[in-house]
């Protein structure tokens, strides 16, 4: 195993993939050696998951070739990839919530005896596998009842069992605590030592030198560079972003106006608790007009939950503490009440809850202002089209036709539509959840500029994001959330490590 | 003057038959009889349209016959009242209409040419009298299996039977359940009736298929043929029909509900070929009681 053969374990050459209007991969070369842990980096939407989905047989490439141990290979479905010893932990976990942990661990490869499921053997093996990754999880519990972190560990345990040649891990640490991450890295090293090649995708740059051997950076569907994991972080950032950060982020605005949102020891108790739903629990923060405030935190910290609850979209429940909008107690019982208070929300899931994908850009844009364009309930096509064209121009949506079908637009342009739609509603407090998720670098810059412009016009903006550079580069202040509580506050441009430390602090004591 | 202008021996005549609902076995029997009778007249060609148990569909089929200007229309209305307007429309368009089985609400000879058929109330009444007088002279408990509730024949047959058994004060109708003309529903319903009233001596089924279901229920309750007097209605021929069931002793009786098919074709011949100036406007065809006495003989027919 020491003598590295001339052929790499995996070699992908000139891989191309297109989704509708989005060119996800434009000819990517990627190599993986035996026993190597290879970090795959790139901003949101760079094409990392797409490349790995091709390797795992989830999607087929439009062009390019793939060789495993020198043999040209093409997987038509995930089963074929698994049979070839390629195991994957998908970014959207491949778990069935209604089935228990054991059933999930063996899904697709259940051991049987005389055609009958061998439940005893499965449960025993399930315990072993979970113990091997250091997870203490009841094997009989339905996966839907587990927290996000525990689900992640189940997915890891599941993939490890049949990773005989290649293991792909798409952001496995995003929902894990520091202790869990340490344990996971230990497991990864063990597996690599057995000669398995591991592709490791993460947004946490500081993890790279701790675990990886080499790094490939993707940018906009192209390889921006390959480097040893020991390369300085600044070098990696340059590869990731492709230009100095200063150009990406607009200049900060100077004067902040009156307080738009004020939370003091605010707490939201939902009437019906949900597994994995971190309710806001002791939140204190302030957003003033003209200000962009960031919300930092690890996955599952409750950022999305805070924004949804502020938008009246978290279902029935009770607020306590001080929750004021423009100095008055906020009415957040329903979305319509919150909107009446001037609150707007851009969701983190534009395809799932942001857009009518099969409808046109114009009809999507006016969704928030239907009352305005339909006096006496009759749609005014003229008003509608005027507003839509204004919004399209203001946000530079391409193509600029209101008739274009939204689902066919690129991710960045879809995101602009979601943002423009919300802005048309003329909110005074704009809540943005992951506003640049899955958007290419160019579009990111445009979106940042638009957000800053909105703030300059007097909006208060609250942004939740998993991209630390984005928060620190764009925001005037950054508030850190942990388990539903605000734990720290930093000024814009603060040190990334300090913010991260605050977000992750003392997580390992939790079960 | 003759009833239709273009009548005569040499013509070719299209007769349209608007059937109420092919899904009832009795209706297929009507179709068969009509087809057989029409086949004997070389000038006639018969078109059958299925109203599928839906007054709207049947109305539209009548409309189609009018559009096609068929020479004569036969109709078995699914329900009488709803088909009344379209029948009148056909007559107004100069097409003679002979109604089978159910009479529409107009005036015979004016709003429709003639009616040929039996009488649901009477046939069930006769069944009732047969039970009261012949089968159970000493009285006892009896049950009724009704057809699709609120449909004309179901209502009339139910009422007719109950009227008929009044002839014997010692007879008590202890249960009546709707089985929608279907054998499977009849089996289930009659099984429950037998459970609740083990002394039931006779059951009147408003059609033959329900009688077949009732027999299966009786068999399931451990009764032998004849323990419970089963009466059907329609008197369908063929291996699946009631005549055979009576002949083989499975049932006690069934009452033919005459199709009027041969009579209708005869009348059509009179109108179209013989250029009749007048036809009888109401022809009631008598029902025949099929009992063990005559069943074997009837089977041959």
């Amino acid at each position: 195993m020491n003598a590295e053969p001339p052929r790499p374990l995996l070699s992908m050459r000139g891989v191309v993939k297109r989704f509708g209007g989005v060119q996800a991969l434009r000819g990517v070369d990627f190599d993986l050696r035996r026993g190597e842990i290879h970090a795959l980096l790139g901003e949101n939407g760079a094409g990392k998951s797409t490349l790995m989905n091709i390797l795992s047989g989830v999607i087929e490439p439009d062009g390019g070739e793939m060789r495993i141990e020198g043999v040209a290979t093409r997987f038509s479905d995930p089963r074929a990839a698994q049979a070839a010893g390629v195991a994957t932990i998908f970014q959207e976990l491949d778990l069935v919530p209604g089935l228990d942990v054991t059933a999930n661990l063996f899904l697709g490869r259940e051991p049987t005896r005389a055609g009958v499921l061998d439940r005893g053997a499965m449960r025993r093996a399930a315990r072993e596998r979970l113990a091997a990754v250091g997870a203490d999880i009841d094997v009989d519990q339905p996966v839907g009842e587990l927290s996000v972190g525990r689900r992640q560990m189940v997915a890891v345990a599941k993939a490890l069992t049949y990773a005989s040649r290649i293991l792909v891990m798409d952001e496995p640490t995003a929902a894990l605590t520091a202790a869990e991450v340490d344990r996971l890295f230990g497991v990864m090293r063990e597996i690599a030592a057995r000669g398995v090649g591991i592709v490791y995708i993460s947004h946490r740059l500081e993890e790279v030198p701790r675990v990886a051997d080499r790094v490939t950076v993707l940018r906009d569907g192209l390889v921006a560079g390959v480097a040893p994991a020991s390369a300085p972080q600044s070098e990696l950032v340059r590869l990731l972003v492709g230009r100095p950060l200063a150009e990406l982020y607009p200049k900060r605005g100077a004067q902040a106006g009156e307080t738009v949102l004020k939370l003091e020891r605010a707490r939201f108790a939902p009437r019906r608790g949900r597994a994995g739903w971190q309710a806001p629990d002791d939140v204190s923060l302030e957003v003033r007009a003209g200000e962009i405030v960031g919300l930092a935190g690890i996955m599952g910290a409750g950022r999305t939950e805070l924004l949804t609850a502020l938008y009246g979209a978290a279902g029935p429940g009770r607020w306590s503490g001080v929750v004021q909008i423009e100095g008055r107690p906020a009415r957040l019982a329903s979305i319509r009440a919150a909107r009446g208070d001037g609150v707007g929300l851009v969701t983190d899931d534009r395809r799932g809850s942001g857009l009518l994908l099969r409808d046109s850009v114009g009809r999507n844009l006016v969704l928030t202002v239907l009352e305005r364009v339909s006096p006496f309930f009759l749609m005014s096509r003229a008003k509608e089209s005027t507003l839509a064209r204004q919004a399209i121009q203001a946000f530079d949506v391409r193509p600029p036709q209101p008739e274009a079908i939204v689902g066919a637009l690129s991710g960045g342009n879809q995101q602009k539509v979601v943002l423009a739609k919300e802005v048309l509603g003329e909110p005074r407090l704009l809540l943005l959840d992951e506003p640049t998720r899955g958007v290419d670098v160019g579009a990111k810059g445009e979106i940042y500029a638009r957000i800053r412009t909105l703030a300059e016009r007097g909006l208060g903006v609250l942004i939740a994001s998993s991209e630390m550079p984005e928060l620190l580069g764009l925001c005037d202040r950054v508030v850190v959330l942990r388990k539903g509580r605000t734990v720290a506050e930093f000024a814009g441009g603060a040190d990334e490590h300090a913010v991260l430390a605050a977000a992750e602090q003392s997580e390992d004591t939790s079960p | 003057a003759s009833l239709v202008k273009d009548c005569g021996k040499d013509g070719k005549y299209v007769i349209g038959f608007s059937q109420a609902n092919n899904a009832e076995p009795y209706r297929q029997h009507v179709n068969d009889e009509l087809t057989a009778a029409a086949a004997k007249v070389p000038q006639f060609s018969l078109q059958i349209a299925d109203g599928a148990g839906n007054v709207n569909t049947q109305t539209s089929q009548m409309d189609n016959f009018i559009t096609q200007k068929v020479d004569l229309i036969l109709i078995s209305p699914f329900e009488a009242a709803p088909l009344t307007p379209v029948v009148a429309r056909a007559v107004k368009a100069g097409i003679p209409v002979i109604e089978l089985d159910r009479r529409s609400l107009g005036e015979p000879g004016k709003d429709y040419t003639a009616f040929i058929g039996g009488d649901n109330f009477k046939i069930a009444q006769e069944a009732g009298k047969y039970v009261a007088g012949t089968l159970l002279p000493d009285g006892g408990e009896v049950a009724v299996l009704e057809g699709l509730p609120s449909s004309t024949p179901a209502v009339e047959r139910l009422n007719g039977f109950k009227d008929g058994v009044k002839a014997n004060a010692k007879i008590e109708v202890v249960a009546e359940q709707a089985a929608d003309w279907l054998p499977d529903k009849a089996q289930t319903a009659f099984a429950a009736m037998l459970q609740a009233h083990p002394n039931i001596k006779a059951v009147y089924a408003s059609n033959d298929m329900m009688a077949a279901g009732a027999r299966l229920a009786a068999k399931g309750a451990g009764k032998k043929d004849g323990d419970i007097k089963i009466l059907g209605t329609d008197g369908l021929p063929g291996p699946a029909g009631g005549i055979r069931a009576v002949a083989e002793g499975e049932w006690s009786a069934t009452f033919t509900y005459p199709t009027g098919g041969p009579e209708a074709i005869d009348m059509a011949k009179a109108i179209l070929i013989d250029c009749a100036e007048k036809v009888p406007t109401v022809v009631t065809v008598a029902t025949t009681a099929i009992t063990p006495d005559n069943a074997k003989a009837m089977m041959g027919k």
């Binding site: 969701t347 099969r358 749609m379 689902g407 739609k421 | 539209s60 609120s150």
Partner: protein, 350 residues
Amino acid sequence: MNDAAPMRAAPAAPPATARRFDAFAIAVRFQSVIGLILVTLGGIVFSPRRHGHILFLAPDNMANIVRAVSETGIIAVGMTFVIITAGIDLSVGALLSLCSVLTATIMTSGGYGLAPTILFVLACGTAFGGAQGLISNRFRLEPFIVTLAGLQVARGLALVISGNQYINISYGQGPGLAPPVFAILGDRLFDNTVPVATLVFVVVAAIATFTLNFTRFGRYVFAVGGNERAARLSGVPVSLVKVSVYAITGLVSGIAGVVHAGQFNFGSANDGTGYELTAIASVVIGGTSLFGGSGSMIGTVAGAVMLGALANILQLNNVNAALQLLATGAIIVLAAVLQSLVRRREGLGR
């Protein structure tokens, strides 16, 4: 904002492909209209002739077709709203029957006058439909199961109200008689050519087309079906819309029930059986997706008429009932497959 025009001239290449793509999409969007044209052509070719006249095209044959589909058409128009929200309503046929029984009963016993009777019946239909919507929305139940239960309840009520009898409507003045003007629903106007039932269908369809395409409510319906969560987050009153569409199917079932009673002078608990499936088929053939979010009212109307024309041409040629069933089944699948091809082409999968 008038300087938007020159900007749009810039990207020259994309529109070309976009237009080609659109031609296909539009073709399928109006598949039912095209299907109707095809069936009409087929009708002309295969129609029996009499004295050289094409029977299929005879004005009274056309009138026959549109009359025959008027009741299911009225229902299909309402069903279109429900299906665009990705719902379904199986209770419509039974509700038609209930409303026809109500109409007949009140007409022949109440003597409350024509308009109050009709309004009352329509209110009952609307309330019944709305109640189903409320239950399904409040408890998050699949509309399939709620309206399946509603079907049974409506038929049961119809039987109870009619006392297990069919109810004839007789016309005239006095107790137990309905106002003679009500019988107009079974007539044909304008020189005996235009069935009044069809006129009702046309009016209902026109109002529905307008509502779907030109009002705020119509937009809400599309939004709820297109992406319920996005609609909710955009401030659309989703629950209200979802309840309303079932109230609409209730209302149109009521209208169809009144038309039924007026056309046939009759109310019966057994009528309207299977209308729900015909109505749903019309909607789907008309290009509205059962997945919700897209659909066309004109398509539904064309779909309903197409099914009627197909049945008509088969009947004119004396094709038997079995083959009619086979043909209808085949047409439904064909229409659905066409739609799915578009969905794929749009690259939107499901």
